[in-house]
């Protein structure tokens, strides 16, 4: 009887220790897929991924989801004339960019929700003033429907037009972390420095996941 307790305690300890390195969660919806391998049914979990997209960037170049293949990236929603949360978000995004400057495995993607006025030339001016010269951080313009659709359904960020709001547009300030398989691995309030710090440490963790593979 005594031995049994020891064995139970030991297995408990082993289990507690076998968690290994911390990994990031998968956000969004998930489904299962059954496949038959060697006569056995194997169930896989399918995580929500970002749907394919095509947008014009600040250089009026049509870019797509394939430009983000092989990198993790941070996505957000903003507009150039926004003077509420956007300046704070992009002040913080610059800090994140600085940390990963030149790292080809890390990219940034900002979608403008002011689809009427934020055409590529205006995005270019904005990027220039922010000091962005290369394509590690891209600012994109898309049709109204596609931007609002991808924000709500894919990145899980609320953005909408509201005539009652001072600037007519309302959106959340999330920085959404996407992995190389286009899955959502984290969402952080881009206006809060402690959450942005969390984003950076989670990005390190995510990059480590790929290094170990």
């Amino acid at each position: 009887m005594k031995y049994l307790i020891y064995i139970l305690l030991a297995t408990g300890l082993i289990q507690a220790c076998s968690n290994g390195p911390k990994t990031l969660p998968f956000l969004g919806e998930r489904s299962t897929k059954d496949t038959l391998i060697n006569g056995k049914t194997v169930t896989d979990t399918i995580y929500q991924t970002i749907a394919p997209f095509r947008y014009y960037n600040q250089d009026s170049v049509l870019i797509s989801n394939t430009d983000y293949d092989g990198s993790i990236y941070v996505a957000d929603f903003f507009f150039t004339s926004c003077n509420t949360i956007c300046p704070i978000m992009h002040r913080n995004m610059l800090t994140v960019l600085d940390k990963y400057k030149g790292n080809e495995h890390v990219k940034f993607l900002s979608h403008s929700i002011d689809t009427k006025y934020d055409l590529p030339n205006r995005l270019k001016k904005y990027a220039d003033k922010l000091g962005i010269r290369d394509n590690q951080w891209q600012f994109v313009h898309g049709s109204r429907d596609s931007i609002y659709d991808i924000s709500a359904k894919n990145y899980l960020v609320a953005a909408y037009e509201d005539g009652a709001a001072p600037q007519g547009l309302v959106h959340q300030g999330w920085f959404v972390l996407i992995d190389k398989e286009k899955r959502i691995r984290g969402a952080y309030d881009g206006t809060k420095t402690d959450q942005v710090a969390q984003l950076m440490s989670d990005m390190d963790l995510l990059l480590q996941e790929y290094e170990q593979k």
Binding site: S81, N83, T84, I85, P87, I88, H90, R91, L94, Y126, D128, K129, L130, G131
Partner: protein, 142 residues
């Protein structure tokens, strides 16, 4: 022993009250303006100009150019109340953008913001009374 401590405490308190009473009326008003101005700045200005007044790259100018602030001191009320459209030269760099108007701010609030800004971020220009706001606003060029 505890009597002694109480005695020392009383004397120190008296000295404190004495010094406080010696602060001039203007110094007290200045301190009140500055505190209220800090609050207003954080609500109305800090998004773009930053909590440290450093601005944001070439998008929003910093508030650390003491020379500019000194030379344009009588225009600051107009800038805040009516907004400002560039180009504008700050610390040797040309900024072009639009600063939105804050038409709902009262004269006293504008005075508090100006007192805070012109005495923070390395600036030291002293008290800016609210009566000045009304006078300055009459001379706005646009």
């Amino acid at each position: 022993m505890s009597k002694n401590k109480f005695g020392i405490f009383s004397i120190l308190s008296l000295i404190g009250i004495f010094f406080y009473a010696c602060q001039s009326e203007e110094e007290i008003t200045y301190a009140r303006y500055y505190t209220a101005g800090k609050q207003l700045y954080e609500n109305k200005c800090a998004n773009c100009h930053g909590n440290d007044g450093a601005g944001l790259a070439m998008l929003y100018p910093p508030l650390t150019d003491s020379t500019f602030l000194k030379q344009n001191k009588t225009k600051l009320a107009c800038y805040i109340k009516n907004g400002l459209q560039g180009p504008i030269q700050i610390s040797g760099k040309n900024y072009e953008g639009i600063m939105p108007a804050q038409a709902t701010l009262s004269d006293i609030e504008i005075a508090e913001i100006i007192t805070f800004i012109t005495n923070s971020f390395g600036n030291k220009q002293g008290f800016y009374p609210y009566q000045q706001v009304g006078a300055d606003l009459q001379n706005c060029s646009n």
